[in-house]
């Protein structure tokens, strides 16, 4: 974590949203996701002034996921939920997880990919996420990677005002952020880095190098996240 903060300092990044611990599992058992969340909680003890935590859960284990959300967000310092590739987000088994997250005023980060060369079995697409979002207009949902194939991902989430496009992951393809701002509005685009797999530089470049107004860049690089997290941070008494 100290190393990541060092790179964040170097690149002018003030806060990191951190999820998943030291040993990742794509389909974690409750014991595994608790362990990963413990790693994040441990990191937050030293770095709560520089990082926000998202609790990693698996919708294949709904009850245990709800308990983990209560432990890490309700009774703990975390502010969001991370869902990866274990269970497709179109499934109604996600509904209690999304409802509880919304009750806590936390945000949901759902990884999405729309891969030309084939999906993982339960991997969610932006179209799956749109289905979930349509059932939960009260929830705040980040569309992780905007599906990778962002020209399609942006279209898929466009009708759902509660869904935000994440810029992180994927190559620094020119035009991504411009299209997202054009189709969604800058208020619905959120900077993400996907480090350490990705370079903070390549991901920042998508926003910094985009042909959009300076005010839009400020929204994407921080003000939007601040707005989304303000309700839960206020309840936790955290200033941001």
């Amino acid at each position: 974590m100290a190393q990541l903060i060092g790179f964040a300092d170097r690149m002018g990044v003030e806060r990191l949203c951190v999820y998943m611990g030291m040993s990742w599992s794509r389909d974690p058992s409750p014991e595994e996701f608790r362990k990963q969340n413990d790693d994040v909680l441990q990191a937050l003890k030293d770095w709560s002034h520089r990082a926000f935590g998202f609790v990693y859960v698996n919708a294949k284990h709904v009850q245990e996921s709800l308990e983990e959300i209560n432990r890490c967000i309700g009774d703990g310092p975390m502010v969001g939920v991370k869902l990866w590739v274990a269970h497709n987000c179109r499934s109604e088994e996600l509904d209690p997880i999304v409802r509880r997250t919304a009750e806590l005023k936390a945000v949901i980060f759902q990884t999405t990919w729309l891969k030309t060369d084939g999906q993982e079995p339960a991997e969610s697409t932006p179209m799956d996420l749109a289905q979930l979002a349509s059932r939960h207009p009260e929830a705040t949902i980040l569309c992780g990677h905007t599906g990778g194939n962002w020209e399609i991902g942006i279209r898929a989430i466009r009708p759902f005002r509660n869904v935000f496009a994440d810029t992180g992951g994927g190559d620094p393809a020119a035009g991504f952020v411009e299209m997202a701002v054009r189709e969604l509005g800058a208020e619905r685009v959120i900077f993400g880095s996907d480090i350490g797999g990705r370079s903070m530089a390549s991901q920042l470049a998508k926003v910094v190098g985009a042909d959009i107004p300076e005010a839009a860049k400020q929204l994407i690089l921080g003000e939007n996240l601040k707005r989304l997290l303000t309700p839960i941070l206020r309840e936790k008494g955290v200033r941001f």
């Binding site: 170097r10 690149m11 030309t116 060369d117 020119a174 035009g175 797999g197 370079s199 910094v208």
Partner: protein, 256 residues
């Protein structure tokens, strides 16, 4: 500001979308305003057009309008009849310092004898060779245009047919790592920065290969130019490393 020689840019149109800087004048202005003093340009048209002679002619003319800044690297497709004439024109007519190859878009493997012959002729003409390993992440390609990365495993053997060839791999780091990377670097192959990823990635690469093998490259306008430039800032490089990657290695690779 450290002057930059960008060894990896493209002119004309990407086949699947318009890019913010795909007008040459706009691209040149953007690069110059960001500290680039010279840029080595290929053409997107070379990927799918069969009239490679026409592609190279337009590339040469476009670069001539920005002479001394844009350096043309024409393309040769050795699967086309009479490809030797395209190579000759790149060298003798257009006075290009090198050529850019796209084996995956042109449909040949590096163990195809024709590739060895092309390398040999380039070495004989003292033309530099840029070999593009991929243009985009295979996960996000157009569903009707899935083009896998070039398999680099046969490259060391192919290079034996072309002693002294000057070879630079473009967009190599998404697929090239480990023993083959070290072997190619030891054989004198150069690389560029566009697809280096991971925090502090440039520094890590320089820990693996000799400093003189890495050149600055952006893959603009397909990639946002700032990506390559910010990667230099993200890595803790010495002044000597910075100068080598940004300018000196490129000047050594081709002599204009």
């Amino acid at each position: 500001m450290q002057p930059l020689i960008d060894t990896h840019i493209h002119l004309s149109r990407w086949p699947c979308r318009r890019l913010p800087l795909d007008e040459t004048a706009n691209l040149v202005e953007a690069l110059q305003s960001r500290g680039v003093i010279q840029a080595w340009a290929g053409s997107f048209d070379a990927l799918l057009h069969n009239d490679i002679a026409g592609v190279n002619g337009r590339l040469a003319e476009e670069c001539r309008r920005h002479a001394s800044f844009l350096i043309p690297f024409g393309s040769v497709n050795p699967m086309l009849p009479d490809w030797q004439e395209d190579l000759r024109r790149c060298h003798e007519q257009f006075r290009m310092p090198g050529v850019r190859l796209h084996p995956n878009y042109h449909g040949y493997r590096l163990d195809d004898p024709v590739f060895g012959e092309l390398l040999r002729q380039c070495a004989e003409r003292k033309l530099a060779v840029q070999l593009s390993v991929l243009m985009e992440d295979k996960r996000v390609q157009h569903r009707l245009l899935p083009v896998p990365p070039v398999d680099l495993a046969p490259l060391p053997e192919a290079m034996k047919r072309a002693p002294g060839v000057k070879l630079q791999l473009l967009n190599a780091f998404q697929v090239l790592r480990g023993e083959l990377l070290l072997r190619l670097a030891a054989a004198g192959v150069c690389f560029e920065t566009a697809t280096i990823e991971g925090v502090g990635g440039v520094h890590k690469v320089l820990g693996q290969i000799p400093q003189e093998r890495l050149l600055f490259g952006s893959h603009a306008p397909f990639f946002v130019f700032e990506s390559a430039k910010l990667k230099l800032a993200e890595s803790d490089l010495t002044a000597e490393q910075m100068k080598a990657v940004c300018e000196e290695n490129a000047r050594r690779f081709i002599s204009l």
